[in-house]
């Protein structure tokens, strides 16, 4: 089986020539991607310092997390993509088992059950594992099949996709389930799902929106209502979004200056160092700052897609493309919700928002990208 797979991945016109290999690539890092990520992380820490009320302590904590996440990224980058491919089903099944565990014995707060805890040691969020396991699994499945995928393969992909998403949605964790679903869907889309089918699904999805209303929990409905009209409850549910829009709008083109944002520093802006951190940036550094960070994101996404394009194997292409596009979903959903374009969903601004788990997952994903990109040459040896 595996020799056949290997055969399938043979000669690729694009990569048929030998390239000079720099030392950076020898240690399996991608210069452009790493530069983009470090710039983003570094800039993010500056914004965090302001958002966390000039607390160097918070910045240090976040710095340590990033250091850890970067090490994880580095280690993953060393792994051979074929090995990742072989282990994909194991990740996926393991992740699914953990999700079942969360539903049975999970812990959490505010009515959501999202964590698995080993008492006294640590606790973690299995849904984070699924963010990577999902695209890997779908890509693993489709990489063997003729593309564009046929009906049967689509159906199997749909099953692979749906079960974990539903389990995460049930925790409930709308934001993560959305991101996991997106990761799986991107694989299918990149694998060449026909435009007709895409159009059909989109139409179906829009038609199903009202039905979604009945599945949603009360707090989720409230969020949608608030999104539609924040002024209906300015002191309650609408407070967050009104304050974040005020922060963004009052920043103007050049911003009020670093550490000078009144909305942020005077605590009018809620969740300012986590989900709403872009509002701090927009208030203090203005439109210029927002454009700068968006440009960085575009750079990272562009590099990610380039890596996907240059990947020698179908599996690598699909995984790299999906991880990159999912990363962009984070960006769009987060900024969209903070600026009032989308309802409030718990999605952090990737690599800027305060918080550990998502940074590790994200950088682990970029580790996979680097692994895919830097192991190409070995294929030709």
């Amino acid at each position: 089986m595996s020799t056949q797979d290997f055969m399938h991945q043979l000669p690729d016109a694009t990569h048929a020539f030998r390239r000079p290999v720099g030392w950076f690539e020898r240690i399996h890092l991608d210069f452009w991607l790493l530069s983009g990520l470090l710039l983003l992380i570094g800039g993010g820490l500056f914004v965090l310092y302001s958002a966390a009320g000039e607390s160097i302590h918070e910045v240090q904590r976040q710095g340590v997390r990033f250091a850890f996440a970067l090490i994880v990224m580095f280690i993953i980058a060393q792994l051979d993509p074929r090995m990742l491919q072989r282990w994909s089903p194991v990740f996926y099944l393991g992740g699914a088992a953990l999700l079942i565990g969360v539903l049975l014995i999970g812990v959490g707060a505010k009515g959501a059950q999202r964590w698995l805890a080993i008492p006294g040691l640590f606790r973690f969020q299995p849904s984070e594992v699924m963010k990577l396991a999902m695209p890997m699994m779908v890509a693993w499945y489709l990489a063997h099949r003729p593309l564009p995928p046929g009906w049967k393969h689509l159906l199997v992909s749909a099953v692979i996709l749906t079960l974990p998403v539903l389990m995460i949605a049930k925790q409930p964790d709308l934001g993560t389930s959305l991101l996991v679903a997106a990761a799986g869907l991107f694989v299918v889309l990149l694998a060449g799902l026909s435009w007709k089918l895409i159009g059909g699904f989109v139409a179906l999805g829009i038609a199903a929106l009202p039905a979604l209303w009945y599945v949603m929990r009360d707090y989720q409905r409230q969020r949608v209502l608030t999104f539609l009209n924040p002024e209906s409850d300015p002191l309650g549910a609408g407070w967050n979004i009104i304050q974040s829009k005020t922060a963004i709008g009052s920043g103007g083109i050049y911003g009020k200056g670093w550490l000078e944002g009144t909305q942020s520093q005077l605590e009018f802006l809620p969740e300012r160092h986590t989900d709403f951190i872009i509002a701090v940036l927009a208030e203090e550094l203005g439109l210029v700052g927002v454009c700068a960070i968006l440009l960085l994101y575009l750079l990272i996404v562009g590099r990610g897609l380039f890596i996907a394009l240059s990947a020698p194997s179908t599996y690598g292409r699909l995984v790299a493309g999906s991880i990159t596009l999912t990363f962009f979903v984070y960006v769009f959903v987060n900024i969209g919700m903070v600026s009032g374009l989308l309802p409030v969903v718990g999605v952090p601004l990737p690599l800027v928002s305060f918080g550990g788990t998502s940074s590790v997952t994200l950088l682990a994903g970029f580790g996979i990208l680097m692994s895919i990109h830097t192991h190409r040459t070995l294929v030709h040896k």
């Binding site: 399938h8 690729d12 016109a13 694009t14 099949r145 003729p146 593309l147 564009p148 046929g150 009906w151 049967k152 991107f186 889309l189 990149l190 694998a191 060449g192 002191l235 407070w239 304050q243 829009k245 005020t246 922060a247 963004i248 709008g249 009052s250 920043g251 103007g252 083109i253 009144t262 909305q263 005077l266 605590e267 009018f268 927009a282 203005g286 439109l287 927002v290 454009c291 968006l294 994101y297 575009l298 996404v301 562009g302 897609l305 996907a308 394009l309 179908t314 292409r317 699909l318 493309g321 596009l325 962009f328 769009f332 900024i335 969209g336 600026s339 009032g340 374009l341």
Partner: protein, 625 residues
């Protein structure tokens, strides 16, 4: 689709993938542009809206209410001050379990169901986050202590201080000072609203109302920066309030106390004035009330008692009580007689105990039924003979009495800073035509001649008339306030009446000497009060009929209902040589002026005319001839 094992077409798959990536990238760029567009919209197009909103969030304009001015008496004793009062406030966001906090509060303060419900409502009232709600005001010391001890169980609950008005002398000064209490919507219509933002109290009556503008001061404005919790972080700009000005009164709080004690349980009024300045030294109306009750919100039972009691504790008798001046005006009638040549020092009449008008068989009786025999002006005043003044009044006629008496302030309010004082009533032919639609009858002139009939005057007017007598016609207007923030207030005003001139200055001496004899001679009606007196005083008793006595009927106090008994009056001034105090006493339904009112007057004079004051007065008299 064919499910036969087909080899993958790698070339095709790669092209397909590349196409998808390009489409995806195009989407990414498009969505990036959407985000930038959104930011442009918020940060450029709607910049002004959100800047305003952001400023409104953080900047708050706070009124800085001025501190109400203090009120002092002539000796610098404090009559009205501002004391801290404590309110209970609650910030919902600081409490994790709101119902538990309210329950704890209810048990700590031992509140009943009703109060607890009120507090609950307040606690849940809609506010911006971190804004404090007022749960209770005016906590007493016990409540403050209970809350302080249980503070750890009451997250979000705090005690805030505020100044409220307090009157240390309570009922003693209630009628003069009036009181300040919670400002109402109606009060706000009468004042500049902006001046009262942040102020909780306004003068409702008395001096507190009359000098509201001075006492209140001017509001200050502070622009502060607050955080979302409402905590003030910095002051952006401020204009300090102009504190209320302090008032110094002519009033003597100790004299006020003596006068209240002297009036005892009677309903009555006393006004004492310094004849040199017109400054009111004492102004007592009994019974009185505790003005502090009104400041802190009076309970309904007490309030109902105060407004429905027959004793009218809320009624300021000194300026609103209208009494027949009775015999207290006899000196002025005598003066009028001398001025108009109707009588002279040597002329006399024979008093058989009654007087009769020509062509009228009605008998106008002297208070002493058997008469005083031959009576001249001096004796008429000393023994308070009625018959002499019937004759004098008849000969003068109402048309000469009215203008003469009006000069002394009868029938008008001459006070400088007491606009709510009554004018009383100095009857005239015109007045009767307008108000009673009847002609003037000669018999009515006789009643006016002894200060009865239509003639009504307030204790303040009676005291003022004594000031004029002491000053021999020189006017000073009665006034309560001496200075505002140490600046003496205007000595005169446009309303200052013209000084009273008589054709011969000896006329003054004649009537004043007669009044001295009222006290200091063996015949005088007030001779009993001259016992052991340290100074020479002029005085006149009066006994005002409340109920008309029929012809041939004899007045018998014991037979009359208490409310129908005569009012006792006394007016006078002292010392004779250098008058320092003029006063009027009215005691309702107390009997005779000589028996009740005169001794009260003596007590006040004794209290005020200390040996030091007498010595000082003498010194002044010698230096200013």
């Amino acid at each position: 689709m064919s499910e036969k094992r087909t080899f993958k077409n790698l070339e095709l798959e790669y092209r397909l993938f590349r196409e998808r990536v390009f489409v995806a990238f195009a989407f990414v760029v498009l969505l990036m542009l959407v985000l930038i567009g959104r930011m442009l919209y918020l940060q450029v197009y709607q910049y002004d809206i959100y800047t305003t909103r952001s400023d409104k969030n953080r900047m708050h304009v706070r009124a800085m209410p001025p501190t109400r001015g203090l009120i002092f008496d002539r000796e610098g004793r404090i009559l009205a001050e501002n004391l801290p009062s404590y309110n209970l406030t609650f910030v919902r966001e600081q409490a994790k379990d709101i119902p538990a906090v309210i329950d704890t509060l209810a048990s700590v303060l031992e509140l009943d169901e009703e109060r607890t419900e009120e507090i609950r409502k307040q606690a849940y009232s809609r506010r911006r986050p971190f804004q404090a709600a007022l749960l209770l005001s005016q906590l007493d010391e016990k409540q403050i202590a209970s809350i302080s001890v249980n503070r750890y169980r009451l997250p979000g609950v705090s005690i805030e201080a505020q100044l409220i008005r307090h009157y240390p002398y309570g009922p003693l000064t209630a009628h003069v000072l009036g009181y300040a209490s919670r400002i109402s919507e109606k009060d706000l219509e009468k004042v500049d609203r902006s001046q009262y933002s942040g102020t909780h109290y306004i003068g409702k009556s008395g001096i507190e109302r009359q000098y509201e503008k001075e006492l209140h001061g001017e509001v200050g404005v502070q622009t502060v920066e607050t955080n979302a919790r409402g905590r003030v972080l910095s002051i952006l700009s401020e204009e300090l309030p102009k504190q209320g000005q302090s008032l110094k009164l002519h009033l003597d709080a100790e004299l006020q106390k003596v006068a209240t004690q002297a009036l005892g349980g009677f309903r009555g009024a006393l006004v004492a004035i310094d004849p040199k300045t017109g400054g009111i030294l004492a102004m007592v109306s009994t019974p009185s009330f505790d003005p502090n009750l009104f400041v802190s919100g009076i309970d309904t039972d007490t309030y109902r008692y105060l407004i429905t009691s027959d004793d009218l504790p809320m009624f300021n008798r000194t300026i609103r009580g209208k009494y027949p001046p009775a015999s207290t005006i006899k000196a002025f009638m005598g003066l009028a007689g001398l001025e108009h040549g109707v009588v002279n020092p040597t002329s006399s009449i024979y008093d058989p105990g009654w007087y009769q008008l020509p062509n009228d068989d009605r008998l106008y009786r002297n208070w002493k039924r058997v008469g005083h025999g031959r009576v001249n002006l001096k004796k008429a005043i000393v023994v308070s003979n009625d018959t002499y003044f019937y004759d004098l009044a008849y000969n003068l006629g109402i048309d000469r009495i009215h203008p003469f008496m009006s000069q002394f302030g009868f029938g008008s309010n001459t006070a400088l800073d007491i606009p709510q004082a009554s004018s009383g009533l100095m009857p005239s032919r015109d007045w009767k035509k307008v108000h009673r639609k009847l002609p003037w009858f000669p018999g009515e002139t006789l009643s006016v001649g002894i200060g009865q009939g239509y003639w009504l005057s307030t204790p303040l007017q009676m005291a003022t008339s004594m000031v004029l007598l002491a000053n021999r016609g020189k006017w000073v207007q009665p006034r309560i306030v001496e200075s505002v923030d140490n600046t003496p207030i205007y000595k005169t005003s446009d309303s200052l009446p013209k000084d009273i001139k008589v054709s011969d200055d000896s006329y003054w001496d004649q009537v004043i000497n007669a009044m001295v004899a009222v006290v200091h001679s063996k015949e005088g009606t007030a001779r009993k009060i001259s016992n052991g007196i340290r100074y020479t005083m002029a005085g006149k008793t009066g006994t005002a009929q409340v109920k008309g006595i029929k012809q041939n009927e004899k007045y018998d106090a014991s037979k009359l209902a208490e409310r129908h008994r005569d009012h006792a009056l006394f007016v006078g001034f002292a010392p004779l040589e250098n008058p320092q105090i003029a006063l009027a006493v009215v005691v309702e339904n107390a009997g005779s002026g000589s028996g009740v009112a005169a001794p009260i007057a003596r007590m006040i004079l004794d209290a005020y005319l200390t040996p030091e004051r007498l010595a000082q007065g003498k010194e002044q008299q010698e230096t200013t001839p």
